[in-house]
């Protein structure tokens, strides 16, 4: 099992803020919109340096999505910023009609996704956003794993013509991917080659998958770990290539077990190579208040949960 050294822990939302600031300097068409959460989204540096290209919308997310759709018409590339809950469920119809169906080049950037939002509780801990966004035709769905990757993804989506949902979060986590990485939309990243089980992880669960890989190695299990930062379009080729070798799969995501990465991978597997698959995901429930670590443990999203899922998947392989 490979080591993934890191020098610091950082939040993925700060990676978004850094990427947006860089885009401001390199792409004059990039504009930012925020619904009264500029500091939380780390959009303040962009706002300060490019005030004429930043639009404070106030607490009016539906309007923000419509404004962004309209701004694309004159050639701008709008990046909207608010919490994941208010970026999706609250404005699903606006995204559906004015952005996705209309094919508008809007980047919906969503922070504080999932349980790791923590103490604010279930009203803000959206666990259904990946599913909602995946279901929309034309939508690209991205959930990067650390600060560097979120920054790289933010920069990459500006060059992608079409609507994108970019999901990131609040907690500080190991920043282990290279600072100079090139982010390729739709291209899964091999982290550790293995032969016994394929672990497909996204977002904050990628680091937990790495931790799980070490525990599994101590048990003599050689896990293949793949970072699925793009959930749509899904890198089916990488998934099928991996399970052809390992014969079973685990999916890991900070999301409801319905509609997210697990279901996306399952669709690929059942249509091509049906192999045992185990889900590490929230079991169709809402979250609650607590620290991020407490919540990840209570709702089954730790490295130990990935280990257990891997062992179950392996045990189900046909002998």
């Amino acid at each position: 099992m490979k080591d993934f050294p890191f020098t610091e822990k950082k939040d993925t939302r700060s990676g978004f803020g850094a990427g947006l600031l860089e885009l401001g300097r390199t792409n004059p068409n990039v504009v930012g919109l925020c619904a009264d959460l500029t500091g939380s989204l780390k959009m303040d540096a962009f706002q300060k340096e490019f005030p004429e290209r930043f639009f404070q919308v106030g607490i009016a997310e539906a309007n923000m999505i419509g404004l962004a759709a309209g701004m694309t018409i004159g050639g701008k590339i709008p990046f909207t910023g608010t919490f994941a809950n208010f970026s999706t469920g609250r404005v699903y119809d606006q995204i559906r009609q004015s952005v996705a169906y209309s094919g508008k080049n809007v980047k919906i950037c969503a922070s504080h996704a999932g349980l790791t939002l923590g103490e604010d509780g279930a009203t803000h801990q959206i666990l259904e956003d990946l599913g909602m966004m995946r279901m929309l035709p034309h939508m690209t769905v991205i959930n990067p794993c650390d600060y560097n990757q979120t920054k790289a993804a933010t920069i990459a989506i500006a060059d992608h013509e079409g609507p994108v949902y970019l999901r990131f979060g609040r907690p500080v986590i190991p920043n282990f991917t290279p600072a100079d990485q090139k982010f390729e939309i739709g291209k899964a990243l091999m982290l550790n080659e293995g032969t016994d089980v394929s672990i497909f992880a996204t977002g904050h669960l990628v680091w937990k998958a790495i931790l799980a890989g070490h525990i599994l190695a101590e048990k003599g299990i050689n896990a293949e770990i793949i970072n699925i930062h793009t959930i749509k379009p899904l890198d089916a080729e990488a998934i099928l290539k991996s399970v052809a070798k390992t014969g079973c799969a685990v999916t890991a995501e900070e999301h409801n077990r319905f509609g997210g990465l697990g279901d996306a991978v399952a669709q690929v597997l059942i249509a091509n190579t049906p192999v045992p698959q185990e889900y590490v995901a929230v079991n169709d429930t809402f979250g609650e208040s607590g620290t991020p670590d407490q919540l990840m443990e209570k709702y089954g999203l730790t490295e130990n949960d990935i280990v257990a899922a891997a062992e179950r998947a392996i045990s189900r392989k046909s002998k």
Binding site: R53, F55, N63, G70, R96, S102
Partner: protein, 285 residues
């Protein structure tokens, strides 16, 4: 410069032709929304044949042109007919309205690439936001053309309209002319019965808009009102034109009733309607 710039006499003739198209389109598929379409015909004809600056060589970005957005997308028949008559696409294509594989979807869409349309609409309340965003980018791009948007009166029951109204005033989006079609009707009855709107003038003025009022079924008042609205742009406030129309205008048995909001005429009713919509130089598709 408007590519047509017709006289009022000519506008009346075009409006009658557009109304003929509307009743024939909804009759052909026994579905669609004739009432609001007929009521807003004179507004559409005024914009596309007199008031707006645009090119029929359609470009999505609309650089250097006035833009129009239809927020109450269900009155698509009047828009489709006006666009065709203005030269965006062949009038024969009106015969495909609401049929399989058509670019003329029940509600306007960009997916099929119909010239003249820049955003999908149908789910109500979104157009003012879109138009405001487009208007702000015109300013950012130093493009001094205007953005027009039409909404229904029942539509302003949607909360997003007021989010956009607050935003446009706060950000001094003064290159937008929004119009509300005040026909007083919505699907379940009159707006008074369903959800009384109160004074939209007072409401929009309180939100920081310049508010004008006009009749929407009379070119002699509508054209000067639209010109007045243009004159009010650039003064730091968004402009609202409250336009009083009669639903179903031009066809006597459709006038003034919410019953024709989303119902098509039968064969006999179509013939009566067409007899009432006489055109000097009829050119039915």
């Amino acid at each position: 410069m408007n590519p047509h710039n017709k006289s009022i006499e000519e506008l009346k003739d075009i409006a009658a032709q557009v109304r003929r198209d509307i009743v024939r389109m909804v009759h052909a598929v026994n579905s669609g929304h004739p009432g609001g379409s007929l009521g807003c015909t004179d507004y559409f004809v005024s914009l596309y044949f007199k008031v707006m600056n645009y090119s029929t060589d359609f470009k999505m970005n609309g650089e250097g042109e006035d833009l129009f957005f239809l927020s109450n997308g269900h009155i698509s028949p009047v828009w489709y007919s006006t666009l065709a008559r203005a030269g965006f696409f062949d009038v024969k294509e009106l015969a495909t309205f609401r049929k399989l594989n058509s670019r003329l979807q029940g509600h306007p869409a960009t997916e099929e690439g119909l010239e003249g349309i820049r955003i999908a609409s149908g789910s109500l309340g979104q157009g003012l936001s879109v138009a405001t965003g487009a208007a702000q980018v015109k300013k950012l791009n130093k493009d001094n053309r205007l953005v027009y948007v039409l909404m229904g009166d029942g539509e302003v029951e949607e909360g997003q309209v007021w989010e956009a109204a607050m935003y446009a005033a706060h950000h001094k989006v003064d290159n937008i002319i929004a119009t509300i079609d005040l026909n007083g009707q919505q699907i379940d009855g009159s707006t008074e019965e369903v959800m009384s709107l109160g004074s939209l003038r007072a409401k929009f003025e309180a939100f920081g808009w310049t508010v004008l009022e006009t009749s929407g079924n009379n070119f002699e008042t509508l054209i000067p009102s639209l010109e007045q609205a243009k004159a009010e742009t650039g003064k730091g406030k968004p402009v609202m034109l409250l336009m009083h129309t009669e639903m179903g205008y031009g066809v006597d048995f459709m006038m003034g009733s919410h019953k024709w909001h989303g119902v098509a005429p039968n064969d006999e009713q179509l013939e009566i309607a067409l007899q009432q919509l006489m055109v000097k130089h009829a050119s039915d598709y």
